[in-house]
Assembly symmetry: C2
Homo-oligomer: 290 residues x 2
């Protein structure tokens, strides 16, 4: 089955940006993709660079966004992974991935469980941590382990999705550099980001893909230095093998063949699930073993 | 603090092999190493290529091995991580790492928790899975997260050691290729082995090192094709940065500087422990979520 990852930039407004995304989804569908994945919070700029109460207005578009991407999925006849700013109630918002069936219906939702808070990634201000757990989403193209960005640093999230039968993990992402960081620091950060997710692929015998934003975005509060999103969307196979890696600075559609038989084959030679010491893992649920 | 990893081959007998190891530990100590780590089951050939009851005789040397490596640690004044075939009772054996203090006393023991069983890696025949859990070992050079080979595929083991305050993970290892595997398969296997452990370094903000056997070893039962151990012992830093990688086919002592401040610095910019969803990880202790 052909899968497409849409790596794109922000086009200065919601309208232009979602129009661009729609055209890319259509292009991917024409190329034969049955599953198309968009990046994190893809309808807007990455707005968490500063803490501004007015930005919650963006979440007022949540229902409109759902209607729009539902129609895109239906028109293009693809399963579509979107990433939206969910308003649940006044003062209660989530960073959520909505998965649409190829008929436009909602196949399922995932609410980002791990919420970062670093300088210019002030997500704890905007998003309540997810409360619907690590549950894969069943679709006509298979059971999808949809997680979001900061979740990618947590082996527990990947493991729980794999133990629930997801044989592909999909991470819509918005991660980038500050221009004043050194070349070496930038290299370490990007390699770490790829390495930890490649590790999830190996440990669980699953496909892992990340769809990352690209391009430089200024901070809308004008207080900060802006973020250069590093693209480099990727796919690793169930043995951790490199399947596709996108460019650091350009828009791109990455395609790959999602072959479930490969999962079966790899797990037969490396049956890690067989030997898990579930009798000895209990303290994983402690904050710290002190 | 300077650390040394001794990557070596098997010298045809226990006596020659441990003599070689002793000389390398002494060399590392002269070079200033305070912590020296040996590979998995380093006193012998990798004997799990076949299932032979007579091989249990090797474990009769367990006490002698302890005395020998205790004296090596004491003479060289280093903390020494060894990996031995432990006889606990008739019919009850473990694959165990013994850590010696620089005065020759035993600092602690780890019994391999995850036991593989693949063609020519028939460890389930020889070793009972460990029953003393994932507990780091306190030494005069720090708290060491000692794990063994097959454990390296399990993020849970790495996590539990890190949550117990280990800021370095040490994996004595015996992993290799079959010569009749394709170049591509060999590449995937070795890269997967490195990737999953690099992932542990990133996810936990710890140093990770593996000490692997090198050289071709025939199967002593003459039934099988032998294993070519791929060396490539390595060290990754707490941001997953590559610090040292050994050769695929030669003996080597790898040195690196174990800088605990680096752990502190990396965890300040990437505080993954802060955001773990321990409320939602409970099902990690299930065999499968079905």
């Amino acid at each position: 089955m052909k899968v497409a990852l849409i790596q794109q930039k922000y086009y200065g407004s919601r309208e232009k940006t979602i129009e661009y995304s729609k055209n890319r989804v259509a292009e991917a569908a024409r190329s034969g993709a049955k599953l198309v994945c968009l990046q994190e919070l893809h309808t807007r700029e990455y707005f968490c660079q500063s803490e501004l109460v007015d930005t919650f207005d963006y979440a007022e578009d949540y229902q409109k966004d759902i209607e729009f991407f539902s129609s895109v999925a239906k028109e293009c006849e693809v399963v579509l992974v979107s990433s939206l700013f969910e308003k649940r109630a006044s003062g209660l918002y989530h960073n959520s991935a909505i998965v649409f069936e190829k008929d436009g219906s909602i196949a399922g939702k995932y609410r980002k469980m791990h919420i970062p808070d670093d300088p210019q990634f002030y997500e704890k201000f905007y998003f309540t941590p997810g409360d619907i757990g690590f549950e894969p989403i069943d679709t006509s193209v298979g059971r999808l382990g949809v997680l979001i960005c900061w979740d990618q640093w947590y082996p527990e999230a990947a493991r729980l999705m794999a133990l629930s039968g997801a044989s592909i993990l999909i991470y819509p992402t918005a991660i980038g550099w500050f221009d004043d960081d050194s070349f070496e620091e930038k290299k370490r950060q990007k390699e770490a980001w790829m390495a930890v997710q490649r590790g999830h692929a190996v440990a669980n015998g699953v496909f892992v893909c990340a769809i990352n934003r690209v391009g430089f975005e200024e901070d809308s509060s004008d207080k900060n230095r802006g973020i250069r999103f590093w693209g480099s969307s990727f796919v690793y196979g169930p043995q951790g093998e490199e399947i596709a890696i996108g460019s650091e600075d350009g828009e791109e559609i990455l395609y790959f063949d999602y072959d479930q038989k490969r999962v079966e084959d790899v797990r037969r030679i490396w049956p890690f699930f067989r030997d898990r010491r579930i009798d000895a893992y209990g303290e994983i649920t402690k904050r710290y073993r002190d």
